[in-house]
């Protein structure tokens, strides 16, 4: 779902340039112009590819969904294509060294194409502007990708590492959004919490305040919220005492909006893109709404001479916060599907996946081998960030942000537009 993804908020300068330069409205294709005489949109899609074959329900933890398989996966003995493998991913969301190792092992090139927000990524895959072999969608888009036949089912025989290394619940019964993992393997998993500076806020104090720290006038001017409606409104709903993080209740959304405006106007809270992983270690912020992966990544942004013990992460009791994850899929239009399977299996390899996590990304893959205790013993994750390590139990107990219907999403977006307008 748009606006709920960690990487969305990691704008590098280059990305920003791209976005600034990127056209506002894509020019229509010639065929679209020729089709202009009939009223578009009378049929469901306008482009006619929809055919509304299967209406798939929205997946939630309570109502998990098995995505229908409408085409065959590739045969297990498909020869491995020569490169290049096209990976369509968030910018800076994979360790280049791991990619280089894949290139070397398979003797192929990997072309990494990036998107700045999920909206852009999905649209380019949907209208064929980009034809990747591997794509990294947020799970909230999965249902619609399958409905429109834009992703292909996975050939499980080619991905043995899924059963070998990933939390068993991801394959049996499979995650709530894709029972039986017909289409996806997990890439990273992260929780929502509060990042804070331990040199300014004690652990006990942070735990006692909880979400309210983001509304504490004591930290005026040093509070960061994510510039992303799905995250910040949902977190504020939890702060306001509800666990209905996918609410359709206008009153809850309105109360969240009022609260967000309150901390912006009275405590100079800032909506940021890099508040947690860059500005908090630099000392600009004291408390921040945070994804666990961002605070783990923050240790590499600390100024020289500052120890990792200044970073703290608080997450509520199990079941009181949200957990999210990203997946790897093979688009239906992939030109090198077998190589794509190899890549997915490669990323689920214990060594490569862990390398990607601890040496670059900060975002954790759901591997059975990754244990909070071991990570801390090895010094990969500082002890004070132990809450940032995600465990399989959390995936069962925590809340999940799911896809909102367009009507509900419109209420969220209206509230967010008002916040962004500085009204």
């Amino acid at each position: 779902m748009i606006g709920r993804h960690p990487m969305e908020n990691r704008w590098s300068r280059r990305q920003f340039l791209g976005r600034a330069a990127g056209g506002a409205v894509a020019l229509p294709s010639l065929s679209a112009i020729l089709a202009a005489c009939s009223k578009p949109g009378d049929d469901t899609g306008g482009s006619g590819t929809g055919s509304a074959a299967t209406e798939i329900p929205i997946a939630t933890l309570e109502n998990p969904v098995e995505l229908p398989v409408t085409m065959d996966p590739i045969a297990a003995d498909t020869p491995i294509e020569s490169g290049p493998l096209v990976l369509y991913n968030w910018a800076d969301y994979i360790h280049k060294k791991v990619v280089a190792e894949f290139e070397e092992e398979y003797g192929v090139d990997v072309e990494i194409t990036t998107y700045n927000n999920m909206e852009e990524g999905i649209q380019k895959v949907a209208n064929g502007q980009v034809t990747p072999d591997v794509f990294v969608p947020t799970v909230g888009y999965l249902r619609r990708l399958v409905e429109r036949d834009l992703v292909m089912p996975l050939q499980h025989e080619l991905i043995p590492n899924m059963l070998a290394n990933v939390w068993p619940s991801y394959s049996d019964p499979g995650p709530y959004y894709d029972l039986g993992w017909n289409y996806t393997v997990p890439y990273t998993i992260y929780t929502w919490g509060i990042a804070y500076r331990r040199d300014r806020v004690s652990d006990e104090d942070a735990a006692a305040q909880g979400w309210d720290a983001l509304w504490n006038p004591e930290y005026a001017g040093e509070i960061s919220l994510y510039d992303s409606y799905g995250d910040t409104i949902a977190v504020t709903i939890m702060r306001n005492g509800s666990l209905d993080v996918n609410t359709s209740d206008p009153a809850l959304i309105d109360a969240a909006k009022v609260a967000i405006l309150e901390t912006i106007n009275e405590n100079e809270a800032r909506l940021t893109i890099n508040g947690v992983y860059a500005k908090l270690p630099a000392g600009d912020f004291t408390v921040a709404e945070a994804w666990s992966g961002d605070i783990v990544g923050a240790q590499w942004y600390l100024p020289k001479g500052t120890g990792t013990d200044v970073l703290g992460y608080w997450r509520p009791e199990p079941g009181q916060t949200m957990i999210g994850n990203d997946s790897l899929v093979v688009p239906a239009a992939a030109e090198r599907p077998r190589l794509a399977h190899e890549f997915i299996n490669f990323m689920l390899d214990e060594k490569h996946g862990t390398d990607n996590f601890v040496n670059w990304n900060g975002y954790q893959p759901p591997f059975t081998s990754i244990e909070p205790g071991a990570l801390i013993d090895q010094g990969v994750v500082p002890e004070n960030l132990s809450d940032a390590v995600v465990t399989e139990a959390m995936f069962v107990d925590d809340l999940t942000p799911v896809e909102l219907t367009p009507e509900v999403e419109a209420i969220w977006l209206d509230a967010w537009t008002e916040i962004k307008a500085g009204a």
Binding site: T44, I122, E147, E268, K420, G422
Partner: protein, 327 residues
């Protein structure tokens, strides 16, 4: 004016040459007349017209079609433009427009801010820009080239990079606050949504575009005109007000238009130096870009902004026309 006379003579020269060549193909029936094919002169307009049609009119029409079209939520909220005007639906457009005046009017504060910021920034640009241009054109005889290079050289670095540099300079414990300490402003949080930061950011970003046309105009004012002013008894100040300033008026207007129009649509200055408290019109548009199904609202806002910037544009056109008539 001699400057204009010179290129005219040149053009005349080439025309003569052409004529000589053409005479050999001239129709025998037309005695002494010069024959050009009917398409000959209009063809000179063609590149401009094609450019205008392909890169302005057509995209602009698409913006209309998107604004008055719909979105397909079954297809990831992609826009479904209505190209045929008879299908146009004004629902989203009217809804967007109503957010400027109805109920809580959430779009009004950014609109108001945009006007205040743009007018303040333009005024500051004009005062500083004119002074610098005047100095470069009149006083800095020896260093004219150097000053020009210094004016243009920041443009070699991306605007974005320079604004990022400002972020560092404006931090609470940054150099600006260090310099402000004697004034008792040493702990100002410049980046926490202060109007003055965004206005100065706009001034910084656009001032070269104010200086350059004014400089070009001042530099071309002939010394003899100023001397004539002095000969007729005007002192230095009077010469400035009655000779230099009127002569540079078209350049001032051009400079104002060049900086004002993009400032109205600017969003990245505020993205990088401000907060939501200093949101401008451009930020409203860029925010819709990241929203599922936001394209119709975005196109509607673009059209509304288009109407707003049409006002200074029309004023400029009227003024330049009047100036041309006077000349």
């Amino acid at each position: 004016m001699p400057e204009i006379a010179a290129p005219a003579a040149e053009a005349g020269g080439s025309r003569r040459r052409l004529r000589r060549r053409r005479e050999s193909v001239a129709q025998p029936g037309r005695d002494g007349g010069v024959w050009y094919p009917r398409w000959y002169w209009p063809s000179f307009v063609a590149p401009g017209s094609v450019w205008l049609a392909l890169l302005f009119l057509l995209p602009f029409y698409v913006v209309f079609s998107v604004a008055f079209g719909t979105v397909d939520f079954g297809n990831f909220g992609q826009p479904v433009p209505y190209y045929a005007p008879w299908w146009w639906s004004f629902e989203t457009f009217n809804e967007t427009l109503s957010k400027f005046y109805e109920g809580t009017a959430i779009y009004r504060p950014p609109l108001f801010r945009t006007f205040v910021y743009v007018f303040s920034a333009t005024a500051i640009c004009l005062v500083i820009g004119y002074t610098v241009a005047y100095y470069a054109a009149r006083a800095a005889t020896k260093y004219k080239g150097l000053i020009l290079i210094m004016l243009v050289s920041p443009l070699w670095i991306s605007y974005l990079m320079r604004i990022y540099a400002w972020q560092g300079l404006l931090e609470v414990d940054g150099p600006i606050n260090f310099l402000m300490q004697p004034l008792g402003l040493g702990d100002t949080n410049w980046l926490a949504g202060m109007h003055v930061t965004v206005i100065l950011g706009l001034v910084y970003g656009y001032i070269p575009f104010m200086i350059l046309p004014i400089y070009a105009s001042l530099d071309r004012i002939q010394e003899s005109l100023l001397e004539a002013g002095r000969d007729l008894g005007a002192n230095g100040r009077q010469t400035f007000w009655r000779v230099t300033l009127p002569l540079s008026r078209p350049a001032i207007l051009a400079g104002i238009v060049i900086v004002t129009l993009p400032m109205f649509g600017d969003y990245y200055t505020n993205d990088l130096l401000g907060t939501t408290k200093t949101s401008m019109f451009g930020n409203l548009i860029s925010e819709q870009r990241t929203q599922t199904g936001g394209s119709t609202r975005m196109a509607s806002l673009v059209l509304i902004l288009g109407v707003i910037v049409l006002v200074p544009m029309l004023y400029y056109l009227r003024e330049t026309k009047r100036a041309a008539e006077q000349a």
